[in-house]
Symmetry: C2
Subunit: 198 residues, 2 copies
Amino acid sequence: MARQRAFDRDTALHSAVLAFWRHGYEATSVAELTAAMGIRPPSLYAAFGDKRRLFEEALGLYQETYGAFTARALAEEPTGRQAIERVLREAATEFSAPEHPPGCMVVSAGVNCGPESAEVQELLRRQRERTKAAIQARFDDDAAAGRLPPGTDTAALATYYAAVLQGMSNQARDGASPEALTELAALAMRAWPATAAA
Amino acid sequence: MARQRAFDRDTALHSAVLAFWRHGYEATSVAELTAAMGIRPPSLYAAFGDKRRLFEEALGLYQETYGAFTARALAEEPTGRQAIERVLREAATEFSAPEHPPGCMVVSAGVNCGPESAEVQELLRRQRERTKAAIQARFDDDAAAGRLPPGTDTAALATYYAAVLQGMSNQARDGASPEALTELAALAMRAWPATAAA
DNA sequence: GTTCTTCTGTATCGATCACTACAGAAAGAG
DNA sequence: CTCTTTCTGTAGTGATCGATACAGAAGAAC
């Protein structure tokens, strides 16, 4: 029927992920995006709508790839404690891997945005809250199974570990090594409430 | 001799602190700054040089006022443990105080900057490292005095608490209450190494 | 081949960016 | 008063922002 796209949409989207991850939403210009994606502005707008919708798609791809280790650990580990311990341990490696920008895109890509990108900030904030809620859900399982002391505030515990993850992302952006982040993760696990019986 | 300035320089600088604190360095435009400071661009440039130097001065004022609680706690408390415990406790209140933007300006004002503001990012990064080093120095005192188990990695401990502080700043920016942050701080203190003798 | 549709590249839109030229106004020196 | 100096407001600099108008090119239907 018509002319077909001359570039691979998924490859271009992946390049956009890396660009947004490195400099954040606002600081990544369309000119920088088109250069990274190897296309011209009209192709970008035809394929992705506008900069905001491109970011939304990029964030989705990030979650399914680089950021998927969190959901995987939370789903696969038998206990909340083992789940969060694995999340922190894998984050230490992922956040400082040299193959891609440091830290976590969900944590850092929307920090310094003006009011005109309030939608994007809100999108990221909701994602951070979803992660925190998923962590707390596993802790609630532990509490229900008696693996946490009676009366443990699982919401506060989830907030604590969410903050540690965000702090690890910041440290990685400041150049922390995988080893330093792994030590950090191990220290953070010492805050886990002691159970009376094993 | 000559016409004198029609605005109060310190008051204007304080307004600049709040503007930079809220939206970060790059996302705060000169137009927004002049509006917040109640002056016109030529007055800003005559009094402060340019946007970057205004930010440097604003950061200095922030450190002497809103951000001074950290240095104060580290200087005044008798032990490293008491110092970091007070830093976290006061940060819980300061980061979520309704009188000013949430979180810590040193943590959040330079996150999403492009390469053209590398100097500002580096300025903030160095400040974060100074704070981490100041924390570790107090931990080293504790280690030398036998208040920490032999062989304790004080650098890793300082990295951990620096990350917790940054995570608390992020949580505050996401709307965490002073109470939630205080609970977070208390949990973070549970990672403190147990000493064999008291 | 012709037609239709969609993509691509050039070149540009108005708006905003950090920043400043310029002229008038204000205040002390004489 | 005049002179000198510095500040203030208006207005506008070139550059870049996100986003597009337009025309030509590409490919399938016929």
